[in-house]
């Protein structure tokens, strides 16, 4: 349950960006959460709703895009989604693989209402 700590970091970035843009309020926040990011999207949502009260993102909507764990075989170049996180190529059995996505925990974009 480290999602609250992650949401605290998120709000640091949100407040900084809102100040930069002279925003009146934040309308929506979009995150990208990888299957192997180590966080639970539902807990992020709960933590976000608790944390946002009284902030510039008081009414903001949190959108989370789940990113699958995707790897590419460096031997046969096949790309595949691995729900079981097994690091073996489905096509040729090689273990020489590159992670393409699924470990990220990103703030992708912010939609805000400006003062002027």
């Amino acid at each position: 349950m480290h999602e609250l700590s992650i949401v605290a970091n998120l709000f640091e970035i949100l407040e900084e960006k809102a100040k930069e843009q002279k925003a009146k309020k934040i309308i929506s926040v979009k995150l990208k959460v990888g299957a192997l990011s180590g966080v639970v999207p539902e807990f992020l949502e709960t933590a976000f709703d608790i944390y946002k009260k009284g902030t510039i993102a008081d009414k903001a909507k949190l959108k989370i895009e789940d990113v699958p764990f995707k790897i590419q075989c460096q031997k046969c170049q096949a790309e595949m989604v691995k729900d079981d996180f097994v690091f073996i190529c489905d096509t040729c059995g090689s273990t020489d693989l590159k992670t393409l996505s699924g470990t990220e925990l990103l703030l992708e974009k912010i939609e805000m209402e400006l003062t002027s």
Binding site: K17, F87, L107, E113, L114
Partner: protein, 220 residues
């Protein structure tokens, strides 16, 4: 009403990563090997550290950072071995963060050889936080079950070495050692696997030798 959408693409754990990278750079500059111990509560992290301390103390300078939700107990156990230890009491937080390690950084002697960080007992959250370590070591004890690697993917995929501890209990448990090893290696083929019993003092020499060879590589 004027609306605007901005593209940020910033990592949510970016500030932790930055502090961790700074810690790692400073430690490596001083030739100190930092090892982050991750496991569920009661897997034997402190007992392993006691055994490691007995071997390293005559020849190397080691220190330990202990992370716990409450109490100074683990640090006291390490100090009883004649090893300097700092206790970080997280007061409820389920993991250590780089900034907590950063706070005691100035107290760490510059002539240290190995710095062990014993994380809060938890196989989930600590895995998301880089502490600036050179080696991440996950410990799985046999009573936890041989199916744990795939249930806690982040801990096993981000580690450099796996210690399977409490091997002395195998005769009493339905724990298939080869299955556990296979599960872990399937997810992380680069894992170095060590089989130990901190209680019976077995398999510790191999683990210590791995840390020492990593220390030699760091200083090359």
């Amino acid at each position: 009403m004027k609306k605007k959408e901005i593209l940020v693409l910033e990592e949510l754990l970016g500030s932790n990563k930055k502090i961790a990278a700074d810690i790692r750079e400073k430690l490596e500059e001083k030739g100190i090997l930092a090892i982050n111990f991750l496991s569920s509560p009661g897997a034997g992290k402190t007992s392993l550290l006691e055994r490691i301390a007995e071997r390293l103390k005559p020849h190397y300078k080691m220190a330990v950072i202990e992370g716990d939700i409450e109490t100074e107990r683990d640090a006291e156990r390490i100090r009883a071995k004649g090893i300097p230890a700092w206790q970080i009491i997280t007061g409820g937080a389920c993991h250590l963060e780089a900034k907590m390690v950063g706070k005691i950084f100035s107290e760490i002697p510059a002539d240290l050889d190995l710095l062990f960080i014993e994380n809060v007992g938890n196989l989930v959250c600590p895995a998301s936080y880089d502490l600036g370590e050179s080696i991440r070591c996950v410990i799985l004890s046999t009573p936890e079950g041989d199916d744990k690697p795939k249930k806690y993917p982040k801990a096993f995929t981000t580690s450099d070495c796996l210690v399977i501890n409490k091997i002395d209990l195998i005769p009493f448990l339905p724990f298939d050692l080869e299955y556990a090893r296979k599960e872990a290696l399937e997810m992380n083929p680069k894992l170095k696997v060590f089989i130990t019993s901190a209680l019976k003092d077995s398999g510790i020499d191999e683990l210590v030798e791995y840390f020492l060879s990593s220390l030699r590589n760091l200083r090359q």
